[in-house]
């Protein structure tokens, strides 16, 4: 054992233990070897308290990170320098009016269909969980049908609804009086068919997600709400659904993102959404890849923005469930002051 180690032992032990026995033993030089072996636990505990701590290092992580950065940089350089990507064309079309209005329409379709889908889906989820067998069967059947058929087929069906029902009217069956609302061709525009198709399809998926969320809420919450005299509607809207939100939001975020990209299916209805607008342009100038990159950049940008709002919402509905949220800490400080 070197002189330094001896000093450590002599300094370290009394600082913590405060006993006189330890330094005496350590100082008796002849017994040094025996002492250091016999007192290993106590002296290592001493080191933990009195010595500066050197944090554990992760050399593996750094190596992997360096390799990844190099690979990414090489790939980026190749993509940037490869003339065949036609970056000049990408930049030129990125903010072209046609592309911008296409992106706007895609966002509109997403927001409207998603909102309608969530509202209808909530109703379907509540129906599905209802004690009324008629309601729950209707909901089950709806979900079965709309999840079980391709969205593309549903969209084309709504687009062609006029072939099945040329006139849309409200009235009594078997020749009773009826009020003509209008011709189906006029009422169901391509955009209308798109929104109808996307919303009804989305509702089926949202219903299942929301049902799962509702199921995650503790049964005691129903008891407490009922014992406080709440009617079913109040109980659901004030107590159960807000708690279900916590479980519902992450998968709903996924739904929003796949809806955003799923709207590109409506290009079959000749609606000039983002993808269709890009297709129209490359049909004339043959810059297929460049325009698909333009469209993808916009899809990425929109996804990023929507994910940001998802994060905000998740925080909002996580309140009371995470003890260490920023808000809690702030409030704690306030009440302590």
């Amino acid at each position: 054992m070197s002189g330094d180690q001896l000093k450590d032992a002599v300094h370290g032990v009394p600082m913590v233990s405060g006993t006189t026995a330890a330094p005496t033993t350590a100082a008796s030089a002849t017994a040094l070897g025996v002492t250091s072996a016999g007192q290993t636990p106590s002296s290592s505990a001493t080191h933990q308290v009195s010595m500066p701590v050197v944090p554990l290092r992760y050399p593996g992580r750094i190596t992997v990170a360096v390799i990844l950065v190099v690979v990414a940089a090489l790939a980026a350089a190749d993509v940037a320098l490869n003339k065949r990507y036609h970056w000049d064309v990408v930049v030129g079309y990125l903010f072209a009016p046609q592309i911008l209005s296409g992106a706007g329409l895609t966002l509109l379709l997403t927001v409207v269909s998603m909102t309608a889908g969530i509202l209808l889906g909530t109703a379907l989820a509540v129906m599905r969980l209802s004690a009324n067998p008629v309601l729950s069967t209707v909901s089950r059947g709806y979900i079965w049908f709309f999840r079980g058929t391709p969205l593309l087929v549903q969209l084309i069906f709504w687009y062609n609804i006029a072939a099945l029902y040329p006139v849309i009217a409200l009235g009594l069956p078997f020749g009773g009086p009826s009020w003509v609302i209008g011709s189906a061709n006029v009422l169901i525009t391509p955009l209308g068919a798109a929104i109808l198709g996307l919303s009804l399809n989305e509702a089926a998926y949202m219903a299942e997600i929301i049902r799962g969320g509702i199921g995650s809420v503790d049964k005691g919450q129903y008891e407490a709400a009922r014992a406080l005299g709440m009617k079913r509607a109040t109980m659901m809207s004030r107590i159960i659904l807000p708690q279900a939100m916590r479980v519902v939001l992450p998968p709903t975020g996924n739904q929003v993102v796949s809806m955003l990209k799923g709207t590109s299916l409506v290009s079959v209805l000749a609606i000039s959404d983002l993808l269709y607008s890009a297709q129209i342009i490359y049909a004339t100038n043959y810059q297929t890849i460049a325009l698909l990159i333009v469209a993808s950049l916009w899809y990425l940008a929109l996804t990023t923005v929507l994910s940001y709002f998802q994060g905000k919402l998740e925080k909002r509905y996580g309140r009371g469930f995470e003890l260490t949220s920023g808000k809690t800490r702030k409030r704690r400080k306030r009440s302590a002051a």
Binding site: Q243, G320, R331
Partner: protein, 254 residues
Amino acid sequence: MSTAMVEAQGVRKSFGPVEILKGIDLRVEKGSVTCLIGPSGSGKTTFLRCINHLEKVDAGRLSVDGSLVGYAERNGKLYELKEDQTAQARLDAGMVFQRFNLFPHMTVMENILEAPVRVQKRPRAEVLKEAQVLLDRVGLGHRGDSYPQELSGGQQQRIAIARALAMKPKLMLFDEPTSALDPELVGEVLDVMKDLAEEGMTMVVVTHELAFARQVSDQVVFMDQGVVVESGPPEQVLGSPVHERTKSFLSKVL
């Protein structure tokens, strides 16, 4: 004789083929404290839930402050109440649960305000003042902004009591309010309940805290297998029980 707060005559309740309550007879006077004791599965919770209209009574008569639970009596016939009418009738009794059941997504203050404002439609400012008084009374006046999960079990249960009291109930029902608590937290909840009893609140308490029952209650009811085996003043039921089943239960609990 004035009307009792709770009056049960031959109350029966089954879940499917299994009869849980097999004819309960019980009378709870206004301003009195009744402790319900009995082995697990004897139907104590079920009976409490019947009083609060959370379960339908299958047979017999159960009335709270003179009005029948679940039914309206007109012209010698019983008419089943609609869901909304039942919700209204439920306001007569406040209920405190074993597992507190506070609303975790609301602060303590929001928990207390929710029902008086949304259900009873009372002005928020007025309820807010009362809620603060209630919070002070249960010793948690400074925790209005906390979320339930930031509080200890004992504190949560005291909040749950304040939440029930904010509805100004005629009667308070407690279902094993201290069973889920660490032993050192039981006292603070029982203290709040003792204060409440002293103020003259009518209370029905399912509990295993026999010391509390002896000290606070006017009546102890021993239930077993869906019937009331024995009831009377605490000295009698706890001190010198008549029935064999009561004796053996007490010897196990003590």
